[in-house]
């Protein structure tokens, strides 16, 4: 048994950062923006949140998340990333390539109604509506490390259920070997899908895939919430994958379709640059990205510049129990 859970506990308010800090930051950004617009330095919305983002509008009202009931995790060994940071520093190219773009541009994202289908090589295809995402399975909290391929990491309390439980419910055929996932394709709502410039040259919809045994590994989860509440859009509302031993880009967001297949499915980053991103994308300090080292990572916690931690990256992001899935495989070749 890998997880131990407390008795049911409805609605937690663990170390939720209060709204005021968030507002305060936005105000400062606004002031900076004002300063920026009058100056000679042209901003680039490219890879950063913060002072360069002076094109952002502040009109959008914040997306409303609702508290969930779930089994609370009693495993809390590491310092969690503050909620405010985990929900404002995101890679979600559908809303722009800057880390601050998703929180700026996704607040009016519609998650209800939603439809998630599980189909392909299964006995009983399933379709879940918005409410079903929260009521079909027992929700539990799991505190996982998230390691981005860009060499930063967070510790996030997710709420959700094992991917295995939904796959079992659909009854996979014996010919099913892989599971493919697809993000919503809705250019009206996702500016990155309307313009290749905003979306970083990615061919949408975003797709991901796992081997069936990886998908059935009990650590692999579908998350419908974080920090005790439903997911905000920038983190992949209403439902996303979380595979904690793989680089973050495997954990596909805002999923509409899960298809069981007999062939290895294509994945978005592999399509973009197959020499840099493989199908497996297991966290591995021994295999560098061609352009940067993966040996260490910067853990995002609270505090400014002077309290930043650089720590060693662990094989499989510290989830050694999955190593047996890859016995006999050359992980340099299957990166």
């Amino acid at each position: 048994m890998i997880f131990k859970f407390d008795k049911a506990n409805s609605l937690s308010e663990n170390d939720v950062t209060d709204e005021s800090i968030y507002k305060q930051r936005r105000d400062i950004l606004k002031k900076l923006g004002y300063l920026g617009a009058g100056s000679l330095l042209a901003a680039s919305g490219s890879a950063s949140a913060g002072p360069l983002d002076w094109f952002s509008s502040d009109k959008a009202e914040a997306f409303k998340t609702t508290p969930l009931s779930f089994k609370k995790s009693n495993l809390n060994l590491e310092i969690q990333t503050p909620e405010q940071k985990a929900t404002s520093y995101n890679n979600f190219y559908e809303f722009g390539t800057g880390k601050g773009d998703p929180v700026e541009k996704a607040q009016s994202f519609q998650v209800d109604p939603w439809s998630l289908s599980i189909e392909g090589l299964v006995e009983k295809p399933i379709t879940l509506g918005y409410e079903d995402l929260f009521s079909t399975f027992n929700l539990e909290e799991r505190i996982y490390r998230l390691r981005c391929v860009e060499a930063w990491s967070m510790v996030i309390p997710w709420v959700g259920f094992s991917l295995a439980s939904i796959i079992k419910k659909a009854q996979p055929l014996s010919s099913a070997k892989y599971v493919s996932f697809q993000t919503l394709y809705d250019p009206k709502q996702m500016p990155g899908q309307r313009s290749r410039f905003v979306g970083g040259g990615v061919d949408y919809p975003y797709v991901e895939g796992l081997r069936l045994d990886e998908a059935m590994q009990p650590l692999t989860m579908l998350s419908v919430g974080m920090y005790g509440k439903t997911l905000p859009p920038q983190n992949g509302a209403p439902i996303r994958l979380v595979v904690p031993w793989k680089y973050g880009f495997k954990s596909i967001k805002s999923i509409v379709k899960i298809v069981l297949t007999d062939k290895q499915p294509p994945t978005t980053w592999q399509n973009l640059a197959s020499d840099e991103y493989g199908f497996y994308a297991n966290v591995n300090p021994a295999v560098d990205h061609p352009r940067w080292s993966q040996a260490r990572e910067r853990r995002i916690t609270s505090g400014g510049l002077l309290t930043q931690n650089r720590i060693d990256t662990l094989p499989f992001n510290g989830y050694e129990e999955v190593a047996s899935l890859y016995k006999g495989m050359d992980l340099r070749k299957f990166y």
Partner: protein, 229 residues
């Protein structure tokens, strides 16, 4: 163009303009560092600072290079006076960029700093641009400039190499959004095209140097395209 009237601004107004420029460029840098120290720079303050100083250095460099063509087009002689301080600020932003990289990104693991500069083509290229900017900054001291005479102009045409290297550095570090860095590179090439007459006057040794740099960039590009480790 021949009929265009030269532009002149009153000396006081121009002074005020210059001061405003100094204040904006410096205050912005200080403010962003202050925000970084007090955890107001979003999720990853180190990344935000790296991006801010990197883009800042590149933008300032491009601005310093468009000043001459604009000034000569508008017959706005005073405008040229802004070229040197903006070029110097570009070097200063690049220095802060390197300091952020060493102090906060790699947290003074000096062995790693060295190996990153050597092993990662995009950092090798950025570092080369930084070395050029530093040399140009030092030689812009008036006494040195006078002593160097004509050679000074030859040396300072390296700023065009620096801006291209800065653009390539940017192009190679992005994961997929290559449009913005590509725009910088295209603008730099256009600037070189605009100034080609002046640049042709550079001595042979400068041409040799530029040729070597191009060759070296070409090889690193091939290296970048190699099969993964």
């Amino acid at each position: 163009m021949i009929f265009k009237k030269p532009i002149r601004i009153g000396p006081t107004k121009f002074k005020i303009f210059q001061w405003m420029m100094h204040i904006v460029i410096l205050a912005w840098l200080i403010l962003v560092f202050y925000q970084g120290l007090t955890d107001q720079l979003g999720g990853d303050p180190v990344q935000s600072l790296l991006d801010f100083t990197g883009i800042g250095a590149l933008n300032l460099l491009v601005i310093s290079l468009v000043i001459s063509p604009i000034a000569s087009y508008l017959k706005f002689g005073q405008f040229i006076q802004l070229r040197r301080p903006i070029g110097l600020y570009s070097a200063f932003y690049a220095l802060s960029h390197l300091m952020v990289f060493i102090a906060f990104e790699l947290q003074f693991e000096m062995g790693l700093v060295l190996s990153e500069i050597i092993d990662r083509p995009y950092i090798t290229v950025g570092f080369t641009a930084f070395i050029i900017l530093s040399i140009l900054a030092i030689t812009s001291i008036n006494n040195i400039k006078k002593k160097m005479g004509r050679k000074w102009f030859t040396l300072h045409s390296l700023s065009y190499i620096a801006v291209i290297l800065g653009g390539i550095h940017y192009l190679w570090l992005v994961k997929s959004a290559w449009y913005e860095p590509a725009i910088y590179i295209i603008v730099s090439l256009l600037l070189i095209l605009l100034r080609r007459k002046k640049l042709q006057k550079c001595s042979n040794s400068a041409c040799m140097f530029i040729y070597t740099v191009l060759l070296y960039m070409h090889t690193t590009w091939i290296y970048r395209q190699r099969a993964p480790l």
